[in-house]
């Protein structure tokens, strides 16, 4: 109701010409839903800040989605010296935004600071494979790992941005780094106000621009906080913003009927999954029967669910299993059962639940609409569904208390190019794992110690096949991201990060 009223109000303004075009002054104006306090994702790990981190800072390597290969960034070359040592040769032509040269000391400082016991950053878990970073010389660094880590390049390409040792190191209170955000990246921070408005300016001397990591096309980027999507849309139409991310599809379509605006659909690497309580401990014993779980999976029309937010418009890519097909070693033999409501009813009857049963679906408030669609399908095969929407914090509490009968949640897809990042956390026999199958857990953990290739792909397939065969966990849908933007703004979308687009993906139309 609230959305419809807002859409109606905003529809009044359709047809108006933007007052001020960002193209004229080469300034991209955009909004986040909250004030920005930093661009350093170690201090604030929100998806938007992670994207900004990759713009202002750099990583050792990057993953080129077009070729499917890792490519140089701060490291020009690398090799695995032995089972627990990776050697990185660094570029010698990189400068920090303040003019100081980038060296091996910066790598060693940053990575060792992250893993230090006294450091409290959320990325610590993602770097738990690292035992120590050791400087060999000014342009060579060895990373010592805690055992063989097959996905080290994936982890380094999706996170681990490098900080300036000469600025960050001496700070007693690391939060003060927000006052001097110096990086090596394609954009420099030229303004960050106390009320959270950020100005970035293109780094003309950016050394790492290449055919796989484009130099920024737009000279200045201004980001401000506009929490409400309706207000963002109003700001777009008054010329204060150049695009709205996460616009409501129907509203965006209505506004884009005017020639000044366009809608671009994107998918991030994130997806929505459905997880079932396999031992019935959360209060619904029916779920302990594998036939019941299979029936519930068969009852859901995944193709319809994934177009539910986009008025039936097909997504730009679909998630066919617990990893995306572009992720390395994403392999499986058992596909997810097709939508078959009659087959589902027959299975439920065979299991003795022909008259249905009651079940709860826990979900994040942000994706509750997906849960409602899934709940609708389950009710069509006789299952009485109660949907429990939660904030993320409350979700964590319910997770710890093992309250999930069915969980329908959003997941960041591992945020990296390696498939194991996408599914591994759900098969570790810890609080996130509702399957807790020792055999699957053993294979899942062993994958980490096997190098990329056929053997590892077959191990991945064992885990993913078990997930489907045991009716434990399946992907339900990608998460469509609707961009409503000015017609003179062009963008590449579908990037492999939760925000789904980098700043160097934007350009002005000719």
């Amino acid at each position: 109701m609230k959305m419809k009223i807002a859409a109606s109000a905003l529809a009044l303004a359709v047809g108006m010409t933007p007052a001020f075009a960002g193209k004229d002054d080469d300034t991209l104006r955009m909004a986040f839903e909250y004030p920005i306090s930093t661009v350093d994702a170690y201090a604030d790990y929100k998806p938007e800040i992670e994207m900004l981190s990759q713009m202002v800072f750099d990583r050792l390597v990057t993953f080129d989605e077009a070729s499917g290969e890792y490519k140089p960034m701060l490291a020009s070359a690398w090799e695995q010296v032995d089972e627990t040592t990776w050697r990185f040769t660094l570029r010698d032509d990189v400068m920090w935004h303040d003019g100081e040269p980038f060296t091996a000391d910066d790598i060693v400082y940053t990575l060792n600071w992250i893993i230090a016991p006294e450091t409290q950053v959320r990325q610590k878990g993602e770097m738990s494979w690292l035992a120590e970073a050791v400087k060999v010389d000014d342009t060579t660094v060895d990373l010592k790992t805690n055992g063989l880590t097959a996905n080290i390049l994936s982890l380094l390409s999706s996170g681990g941005h490098i900080l300036p040792e000469h600025i960050h190191g001496p700070l007693e209170d690391k939060a003060e780094f927000r006052n001097n955000l110096v990086g090596t990246g394609m954009y420099e921070v030229t303004g960050l106000t106390s009320d959270g408005q950020l100005t970035l300016t293109a780094n003309d001397g950016y050394a790492m621009a290449s055919d796989y990591w484009a130099a920024p096309s737009i000279g200045t980027v201004e980001i401000r906080a506009v929490p409400d999507i309706g207000a963002q849309t109003a700001a777009l139409m008054s010329g204060d913003l150049d695009f709205v991310r996460n616009a409501r599809f129907e509203e965006a379509q209505a506004i884009a009927s005017a020639p000044d605006y366009e809608v671009t659909l994107s998918q991030s690497i994130a997806y929505i999954y459905m997880m079932l309580d396999t031992d019935g401990q959360a209060g619904q014993e029916a779920l302990a029967d594998p036939r019941v779980r299979q029936a519930l999976i068969m009852a859901v029309d995944r193709d319809a669910v994934q177009t539910s937010r986009t008025g039936g418009q097909e997504p730009s890519r679909t998630v066919d299993h617990l990893c995306w097909d572009f992720q390395i070693d994403c392999a499986y033999n058992t596909p997810i059962p097709a939508y078959d409501p009659e087959g589902a009813k027959a299975l439920l009857a065979e299991a003795g639940y022909g008259d249905g049963f009651s079940v709860t679906i826990h979900t994040f408030n942000s994706v509750k609409d997906f849960a409602e669609v899934v709940g609708g399908y389950l009710s069509q095969v006789g299952v009485d569904v109660e949907i429990i929407g939660q904030t993320f914090a409350a979700f964590r509490k319910s997770q710890a208390d093992e309250e999930f009968q069915i969980l329908l949640a959003a997941w960041n897809g591992g945020k990296g190019p390696d498939s194991m990042l996408a599914f591994q956390p759900f098969f570790n026999s810890d609080v996130r794992d509702l399957l807790k199958d020792p055999a699957v857990t053993e294979v899942n953990k062993a994958i980490t110690g096997v190098n990329v290739g056929e053997e590892r792909a077959s191990m991945v397939a064992q885990v993913l096949d078990a997930s489907v065969e045991q009716g434990y966990m399946i992907p339900i849908s990608g998460i469509p991201i609707v961009f409503l933007h000015k017609a003179d703004l062009e963008m590449n979308v579908n990037r492999m990060l939760p925000y789904s687009v980098y700043l160097n993906d934007f350009s002005w139309a000719e």
Partner: protein
């Protein structure tokens, strides 16, 4: 008057302390803070390390006493997620909320009280009914809808006012009107009923029979008594407004306390939420105390 203040202060402190205990307990029980801080991929060792680092491995009463001790020394702690001092976060965000709250209250009182008096002076007439319709509209119309309509008309279409932000006085015009419209009806109703009650009271009849002029009778006797509930309502409303209006701050992109509280609750940023709860409750209690004192000053009968 001093006696009135001294009698109220212990109760006020007790209320603030109770709110802080309840807030602390509810916040801690609302989510798994350790896992939230440690991240998705944290193992048992990292979870234990995070719990130790943030003092979350101690029993809840000990955690509360530690927090209270820091608070008494003026240390609100740091945001669990950005590392910023909570006091500086709140100081940054309080400004826009205070401006919005005070301006909205002033507008609501300046318009609402005269309308209430006008309605009471002309009971059951067309004037009274028109004012009642305005009041009902103000109360019934949803903030977010009215705010968005105002945005579209005055910011997007006419371009008289800015769309979003809190940089200049112009940025506050639409949010103040939106918020004032929603609180004004209470002042209209309270003033109208207060004046009507007062005008029907025995002492007014007595004064009228003594030949006191109607204008003086109304201003000196009736309005003085009718204004008591308006003072109390103003204090309560201001306390409510200073807690931040999430919807209005959200629609008009005002980076105030309401939005800070909302985003901190969503991310379970415990120190920030707890500090806001305590500060707002103290302000609320203080304003209630102030309204008691003002009422006692206006009406000597309340000093007993």
């Amino acid at each position: 008057m001093i006696r009135v203040i001294l009698r109220r202060i212990p109760m006020a402190l007790l209320v603030a302390l109770t709110v802080s205990i309840l807030g602390f307990a509810l916040l801690r029980l609302s989510g798994d803070l350790v896992r939230e801080l440690a991240g998705d991929t944290a193992g048992p060792e990292q979870l234990a390390q995070v719990a130790r680092a943030y003092g979350l491995d101690k029993p809840l009463p000990i955690q509360y006493l530690n927090w209270l001790w820091d608070l008494l020394r003026g240390d609100f702690g740091t945001s669990l997620f950005t590392g910023e001092a909570v006091s500086s976060l709140i100081a940054t965000r309080a400004g826009p909320t205070i401006i919005l709250a005070l301006a909205s209250l002033v507008v609501a009182v300046v318009i609402g009280v005269p309308l209430g008096v006008l309605a009471a002076a002309n009971p059951n007439t067309l004037t009274d009914r028109v004012i009642a319709v305005v009041a009902v509209f103000g109360q019934a119309v949803p903030n977010f809808w009215f705010g968005l309509v105002m945005l579209v008309i005055f910011a997007v279409k006419l371009k008289w006012l800015p769309v979003a932000g809190d940089d200049t006085a112009a940025h506050f015009v639409l949010p103040v009107i939106t918020l004032a419209l929603s609180i004004m009806p209470q002042f209209v109703r309270v003033t109208r009923s207060g004046v009507l009650d007062a005008m029907g009271a025995d002492y007014i009849r007595t004064a009228r029979s003594k030949g006191i002029p109607a204008r003086r009778l109304f201003m000196r006797h009736a309005l003085r008594n009718a204004i008591l509930p308006v003072v109390s309502l103003s204090a309560v409303t201001l306390g409510f407004l200073l807690g931040g209006s999430v919807i209005v701050e959200s629609v008009f992109s005002i980076n105030g306390l309401g939005l800070l509280a909302y985003s901190s609750i969503l991310s379970n940023d415990f120190p920030v939420v707890q500090a806001i709860v305590v500060i707002v409750s103290i302000v609320y209690v203080f304003l209630t105390l102030l309204s008691d004192v003002v009422n006692a000053w206006i009406d000597p009968r309340l000093r007993g």
